[in-house]
């Protein structure tokens, strides 16, 4: 069964009218890289790639995570340990229960019979594999550029190759693939080949550089703009960018042109109390 049977390609999804969390059991889990694990749950959130869900650790906290896979009856979340909630989650075992709600937000477009390049930086790579699978199922040719600081932080590169994506690697220290940044690889590709669509998820400065590069060459580009998401469905206002648009609904995935109208894109984001934090 392909991913597009689970609803990808369905534009304008907002939230279900019921946003109570539902219980899901951790089916299995494994390490992807240092401090990065993938958790698998049986079921579906009917998501499209690039959307996110809220994961609830009962009596502890609830946080937003992008969805790394949602097809064939399984939901995969690839999660980096960054704070108390993810530290708590990393202590959990198969058979333990959590709450999930979603999917939320606007995801990546899926195109048929085109040449697509996906650029993932760090754990931003996770939702792009799901995106690539949807393109592939629609007959598109997928190139995946994966970047990390060094080899031990690379994720999803083997799955990318196994899925049949042309997979290109960049590491800052040269310990795997090309030494340097994903943007160097992309620049060369855009110069040498005819690319129909570029989609990216990762550090915002990287995405901004990619957005500028694609706009200059008139190549359609989508970026995933991550902001502090408290509720996930458009009520709290924590995730707005400087135009006032909510990234939990208008985003996280927006076109490069739209992202460039956000004066905070690639410059700053906001913390839990709305305070400015520079990238």
């Amino acid at each position: 069964m392909g991913c597009c049977n689970s609803g990808c390609g369905d534009k304008n999804i907002h939230h279900d009218i019921n946003t109570e969390p539902r219980a899901f059991v951790i089916d299995r889990m494994w390490d992807e890289a240092e401090n990065i694990k993938t958790f698998v749950f049986k079921g579906t959130l009917h998501s499209k790639p690039g959307q996110f869900c809220m994961l609830w650790l009962p009596e502890f906290d609830e946080k937003p995570f992008s969805i790394a896979r949602d097809y064939d009856g399984e939901i995969w979340l690839t999660i980096c340990k960054v704070g108390p909630a993810t530290t708590q989650l990393f202590k959990m075992k198969p058979g333990d229960r959590v709450g999930l709600r979603g999917s939320f937000g606007n995801g990546f477009s899926t195109v048929a019979n085109k040449k697509v390049v996906l650029v993932g930086g760090g754990y931003g790579t996770a939702p792009l594999h799901f995106t690539g699978k949807c393109h592939q199922d629609s007959g598109s040719d997928v190139t995946m550029i994966i970047g990390a600081r060094s080899k031990n932080l690379l994720i999803w590169e083997k799955k990318s190759e196994e899925t049949g994506f042309r997979t290109l690697i960049a590491t800052n220290d040269g310990s795997a693939g090309v030494e340097g940044f994903t943007t160097h690889i992309l620049e060369k590709l855009l110069h040498e080949e005819k690319i129909d669509l570029v989609q990216t998820c990762g550090p915002e400065k990287m995405m901004k550089a990619i957005a500028e590069m694609c706009m200059k060459k008139n190549i359609p580009c989508e970026v995933s703009v991550e902001r502090y998401m408290k509720c996930g469905f458009g009520i709290c206002g924590q995730c707005v960018v400087e135009t006032g648009e909510k990234m939990c609904q208008t985003g996280p995935v927006v076109s490069a042109e739209r992202a460039m109208t956000f004066s905070d894109f690639g410059v700053f984001h906001r913390g839990a109390e709305g305070q400015r934090k520079d990238w």
């Binding site: 009596e59 458009g234 009520i235 839990a272």
Partner: protein
């Protein structure tokens, strides 16, 4: 074409729909965007003098019939509040209602003075949040004496800015509380805050859904309670304008609660159901109704049910 203008405490609003406090209120960009989408005015989230962390997630969820929240009035404190207010004033000329809160009666004076200096069009005093009960005991809106003391302190410290006191429906008589705050110097009443608190559990996880265990109930289910509260307050205090809020979920709901006695109409949870389209959808419905009615001005319908 007839317009939807209303005047509230001497302030002109292009239409009576105002963003209710606590929704989309974290940044000036967010609040100003609500005006661009068609709101007549906006209410800031509750501003504290000192930073206040609020509750961990989950803090809210919705169903078809109702919505529950226990955000816990998270706020970065006065420094951020002042900055947000200044930026908001630069971004919009629409009326700003500044909502203030404090944990102790005596702390309302200081926050009122600081916010008053920023010259919002109206100051709304939150004495009725059900989600901070465990921290501070019963909301001040549950006691005529506390409610009046808070009102007087704000009145004495805020300058000549009109004040509206936001009341709780979770009391024996909301009319008695309304009377006491008006006697203490309130120019207007905001009614109602959320109902409850209520409680919901997840049966598989055997855990209350909200981290605070309990939360205020809003949304369409509480609209009848809001209409009755507004009706009762207007009947007792016909010269006191009301910001009528609670479960308004259509333009027709807004018209109904104005006829019950509301001058402005607070809109919050409706955004969960209608998103960014809320404002235009509701004002279009109101305009269409007004066009075919015998009334020339929308303000003619305020308190209409009492004139029967």
């Amino acid at each position: 074409m007839k317009n939807l203008n209303v005047a509230f405490c001497g302030v002109d609003f292009e239409n009576p729909l105002v963003l209710a406090s606590g929704v989309l209120g974290v940044t000036a960009a967010s609040l100003a965007h609500v005006i661009e989408l068609g709101a007549g005015g906006i209410t800031t989230k509750s501003m504290w003098r000192d930073p206040h962390p609020g509750h961990p997630n989950p803090t809210m969820f919705g169903t078809k019939e109702y919505f529950m929240n226990a955000v816990g009035l998270s706020d970065a404190g006065l420094v951020k509040g002042v900055q947000t207010m200044k930026e908001l004033r630069e971004r919009t000329s629409a009326p700003i209602i500044a909502n203030i809160v404090a944990g102790k009666v005596e702390d309302f004076g200081a926050i009122a003075e600081s916010i008053g200096e920023l010259k919002p069009d109206v100051v709304e005093v939150n004495i009725s949040c059900p989600n901070v009960e465990s921290e501070f005991g019963k909301p001040f809106a549950c006691s005529r004496v506390d409610a009046a003391n808070v009102t007087k302190l704000v009145r004495d410290n805020v300058g000549n800015i009109p004040i509206s006191v936001k009341l709780s429906p979770n009391v024996e008589s909301i009319v008695d509380i309304a009377q006491s705050v008006v006697d203490a110097g309130a120019n207007a009443i905001t009614a109602i805050n959320t109902v409850g608190p209520g409680m919901r559990w997840n049966i598989d996880l055997r855990t209350p859904i909200l981290s605070n265990k309990v939360g205020g109930v809003s949304g369409p289910a509480i609209f009848p309670i809001a209409v009755k509260s507004v009706y009762d307050i207007h009947k007792a205090l016909p010269n006191t304008p009301i910001i009528a809020t609670g479960g308004v979920n259509s333009g027709r709901d807004a018209l109904e609660i104005m006829m019950a006695g509301g001058t402005l109409v607070g809109v919050g949870t409706a955004i969960y159901y209608h998103g960014d389209a809320t404002w235009k959808k509701f004002t279009d419905e109101m305009s269409a109704w007004l066009e075919q009615s015998e009334f020339d001005n929308l303000s003619d319908i305020i308190g209409l049910f009492h004139k029967k």
